[in-house]
Amino acid sequence: MTPSIRWLLAALTFLFSAISVAPVHAQESDPAATIQKFGGKQSYDETEAVISELAATGDARVARALRALREGDLYWRESDEAVFIAERNGDNYDLLDPLTGEPAGSEPRGDMSKVRVKNSIRNAVTTALGSLTLRAENPAQRMRAAETLFSEADPEMIEPLDAAIEAESNADVLIRMQEARAAAVLASDRPAPEKAEAAQVLANRGDRESLTMLNRFANSTEDQAARTAAIAAIAAIENNIAFWNQAQNIWYGLSLGSVLLLAAIGLAITFGVMGVINMAHGEMVMLGAYTTFVVQEFIRTSAPGLFEWSLLIALPLAFLVSGTVGLVMERGLIRFLYGRPLETLLATFGVSLILQQAVRTIFGPSNREVGNPDWMSGAFDIGLMSVTWNRLWIIIFALAVFAALLIVLNKTPLGLQMRAVTQNRSMASAMGIRTPWVDAMTFALGSGIAGIAGVALSQVDNVSPNLGQGYIIDSFMVVVFGGVGNLWGTLVGAMSLGILNKFLEPYAGAVLGKIVVLVLIILFIQKRPRGLFAQKGRFVDA
C-alpha cells in the first residue's frame, strides 16, 4: 500500500467521523471543480492526489467520475482541458458531464485525451469508492466496500465500520462488515480481549486471508489464552483449506478430464468403433474451433446482439463442417483402407498436414480471437473453491455430448446399424444394411462430434492451426487407456487421467506430472493390453 493511500484513508476517517457527527456539513469543496483537475497532462501522483481530494468531499456523486476514471472512460478536451466522460461513437466521442452524467455534446476523437490510469490509480479509486459506498443505498455496493476494507485491514477504519455496522440491515453484509472490522482490530493496538474476540470472528470466516491474519496475531499476541485459541483456529482453517484443496484438485481433474473427453470422444467413434486410426482427428477439432471463429466474426460485423448466442449457433455449424470433411475423407480415402489400420494412420496423417496448411493459408498462422460470452466468463465460490463458469459449462457440455452419443448409438436406427456393422459386417450386409453408407455416416458422426468439441475448446485454448496437434496424442491415450470400442471406457479414462494429472501436478509440477501420467499409461497397457474396459469375447482377436 502506497503512502498516499494511507493518507487518503486518514482523511476518510476524519471525514466519516465528521459524517457521524454532522453529515450535512461535509461538503467543503465543490466536487465539480475538483473533477476538472484531472484535465491536462498530469503525472500519476497528481492524479492520485485529485482522487483523494475527491474522496475527501465525501460526496457520493463523485463516484460516477471515479468509476469512469477506473474504466478508462474519463477524457479531457485538448482545447480547454475540460473533463468529460466519453463514450466512443464512430470517429467521435459522445461527452457526458462527469458529475451529473448529462450529455454534453460530442467531439472528434483526435481532440480528446484520456486521463491516464494505471493499476495503482485503479486501486486508489477502488479504495476511495469502497469508503464512499460503505453506506451506499445498494447492498451489493456495501458488500464490495466491506470486502475492500477487509483486505485493507486498516485500524483507522474501525470507527467508520462501527457506525456502518450499527446502521446495517442486511445480514450478509453485516457479517462482511464485522469481519472487516475484526481484521482492522487485529491490525490495531486495541486491548487483548477485543483482539481475541476479533480472532474468533476471523476463525469463523476461515479462508486464506483470515489464516494469514490469525497467524500474524498468534505470533504477536502476549495473551496466552488468545494465542491458544488462535492456534486452534489456525489448525481448523488449515484443515478446512486442505479439504478444499483436495476438492479443488478433483474439480480441476474433472474439468481437465472433460476437456480430454471432448477431444477424445469423436475419436472413440472413429477409432474405437470403426478402428480407423484417424490422425486428422485433431484437425476436425480445429475446424470446429475455426467455425466458431467465423461465426463470431460474422456476428460481430452483422448482428452484434447475437454474440451471447454465438456458441450455440456455432455448434450445429461446426458439426456440419467437420462432419462434411469427415464424410469426404471417408468416401475419398478411408474406405479404400479398411482392414489396414496402420495405413489409415499414414493417410490420415497426410490429410491432417493438408488441413493444417489449408487453414494456415486461409486464416493466417497466428492465433484467432474467439470471445467468451458473458455466461461463460467469471467464477463463483463454493466454500474455498473457486469454480469458473466456462469450466463448469464445459463439464456439463462434455457430459451432454457423451449422453447424446450414447442415445444415438443405443436408441436410433443409425446406432443400431452401426453396432450391427461393427459386430458382424458381412451379416449386417446380408441383412440389407448398406454397410458403406453406415461406415460413412459413422465416420461423419465421429468427425462432427470432434467439430463440436472444437467449439468448446475454442473457449479455453488457442485457436490456431496447431490446435489439433496439441490434443491428438492425449486423445489417443484416453481412448486406448479407456479401452477401444467402449464409450464408457473413454469417459472413465478421460476423467481418471484428468484427475490423476491434477493430483500429480502440485507435487511433481506440470511437466513431470505429465511424464508420469504417460509412463503410467505405458505400464498400464502392458498390464491390460486392451485398456480399462476391454471388449471381451471370442472374436476380439479375429
Binding site: L337, L342, F349, V480, I515, Q526, K527
Partner: protein, 387 residues
C-alpha cells in the same frame, strides 16, 4: 560368398553406390575447384550426410515395420538418444573452450548455476565410452520397452500408440532443464570430434564417408538377418503371429530381437547425424518426426532393403527443395504424398516394382507348371495330384 547369392544384385549395387559415394563425394568436394562442374559445394556435404543418416534410420524402422510388422511411432526416440550420447561426447570435447572457460561443465550448466557435473555425464569425455553408449542406451531402452510390450502381447495399434507415448514422454523429459541435457536449446556449439575440428571440410567429408559406410554395413546386416531363417520367421510373425506361436515359436523374442537391433541402428544413425548438423535438441523426439520416418519407409517400400533408403533420400531431398522454392506448399506436398502412397502405392516404390516382378514370375511359373514344363533345373516335370 553365400551372402552374394542371398542379397541379389540390386542390394550389391546399392552397397557399391554407397561406398563409391563415400569416396567420390568428399573428393569432389575437397579436390575439385569450385568452378568445376562436378564440384560438390561444402554446404552440400553435411546435407548429403544428413540424408544418409536418415536413410539408415529408415532402414532401422523398416527392419521392425517392414519385416516384423511392428509399426513403431517412436523410432525418433532411439535416434535422438544416440544423438544425445554423441552430443554429450562432443560437449565434453569442448572442455575449457566454452564461454565461461569451465573445463568440466558445459556452458548451459554454468549459467544455470550447476556446481558439478551430473553422474550420467561421466565417461562421455572418452570416445569409446560414448560410442558404446550410442548403441547401449537406445538398445537398452528398446530392449526393456520391447520386453514388456511384447511379453504382454501389446500389438498393432496399441503398440504404435504406446511407442508414441514413449517418445512423447521423452520429449517432455528432455525439454526439462533439470534433466541436465540443455533443455530446449539442446547440445550445440561443438568444437571437434576425435581431435578434428568439426567445422572443417575434411572432417565433414570424413563424417559423410563414415555415414555411407555405416549405411552400407547396416544394409548388409539387415540383409543377412532378413535372409536368414530368423528373417523368414520375422515375416511369418508379421503375417500370422498366432500361427508361429502354435508351431512353438515365441514371437515376442523375435520381435524383441528385431526391435533392439533396430533401436541400436537408429542410435548409430543419430550419432552420425549430430556432428553433421551441429545440434541435438529435444525436437528430435517429437512424435511428428517419428511419423515422418514411417513415411520415408512407406514411400520407398517397406519390407525391402532398398526401399527405405530410396524413400528417405527422395522425401528429404523433396523437403529441402520444396522448403526453398515453395515453403507454403511443402506441407500440401508432404500430406499429398502420404495419401498418394498409401492409397495408390501401398507397397512403396521398390515394393511395387518387386511385387510386379514377383507376380509376373510366379504366374509364369504357375502357367509353365500347368503345361508340365519346368522353369529351372531344380524342378522336375510332375503331374499335379488332381490329374
Amino acid at each position: 560368398m553365400l551372402l552374394a547369392r542371398f542379397l541379389g544384385p540390386r542390394v550389391w549395387i546399392l552397397i557399391a553406390a554407397l561406398l563409391l559415394a563415400a569416396v567420390l563425394v568428399p573428393m569432389a568436394n575437397l579436390y575439385l575447384s569450385p568452378s568445376h562442374p562436378l564440384h560438390v559445394p561444402s554446404y552440400m556435404v553435411p546435407l548429403l550426410g544428413k540424408y544418409v543418416c536418415y536413410a539408415l534410420l529408415a532402414l532401422a524402422l523398416d527392419l521392425v515395420w517392414g519385416y516384423v510388422g511392428i509399426l513403431s511411432l517412436g523410432h525418433g526416440a532411439f535416434f535422438a538418444l544416440g544423438g544425445y550420447a554423441m552430443g554429450m561426447y562432443l560437449m565434453r570435447q569442448i572442455g575449457a573452450r566454452g564461454v565461461y572457460g569451465n573445463p568440466e561443465l558445459p556452458d548451459f550448466m554454468v549459467f544455470l548455476n550447476w556446481k558439478e557435473l551430473p553422474w550420467y555425464w561421466y565417461g562421455f569425455d572418452q570416445f569409446w565410452f560414448a560410442a558404446i553408449m550410442v548403441m547401449l542406451v537406445p538398445g537398452l531402452l528398446g530392449f526393456v520397452f520391447g520386453y514388456f510390450a511384447f511379453r504382454s502381447r501389446v500389438t498393432g495399434v496399441y503398440l504404435s500408440i504406446i511407442t508414441q507415448a514413449m517418445t512423447y514422454a521423452l520429449l517432455l523429459a528432455f525439454f526439462r532443464n533439470d534433466m541436465g541435457f540443455g533443455g530446449n536449446n539442446g547440445l550445440t556449439d561443438f568444437k571437434d570430434i576425435l581431435g578434428f575440428p568439426i567445422q572443417a571440410d575434411s572432417t565433414r567429408a570424413g563424417l559423410f564417408a563414415a555415414s555411407c559406410i555405416a549405411l552400407a554395413i547396416a544394409v548388409l546386416i539387415v540383409g543377412w538377418i532378413t535372409r536368414s531363417k530368423l528373417g523368414k520367421l520375422m515375416v511369418a510373425v508379421r503375417d500370422a503371429e498366432s500361427r508361429t506361436r502354435f508351431i512353438g515359436w515365441r514371437p515376442e523374442y523375435v520381435k524383441l530381437f528385431a526391435f533392439t537391433v533396430s533401436a541400436v541402428m537408429a542410435g548409430i544413425a543419430g550419432a552420425l547425424y549430430v556432428p553433421q548438423v551441429g545440434i541435438i535438441n529435444p525436437g528430435e523426439f517429437a512424435p511428428v518426426n517419428s511419423i515422418e520416418i514411417v513415411v520415408w519407409a512407406a514411400v520407398g517400400g517397406r519390407g525391402t532393403l532398398l526401399g527405405p533408403v530410396i524413400g528417405a533420400l527422395l522425401v528429404n531431398y523433396g523437403k529441402t527443395y520444396f522448403t526453398a522454392v515453395a515453403p507454403e506448399f511443402w506441407l500440401f506436398f508432404l500430406g499429398g504424398l502420404f495419401v498418394f502412397v498409401t492409397l495408390l502405392l501401398p507397397r512403396g516404390i521398390i515394393g511395387t516394382i518387386d511385387y510386379g516382378w514377383e507376380t509376373w514370375r510366379s504366374r509364369r511359373r504357375a502357367s509353365r507348371e500347368e503345361k508340365g514344363e519346368s522353369d529351372d533345373g531344380e524342378g522336375q516335370p510332375l503331374a499335379s495330384p488332381a490329374e
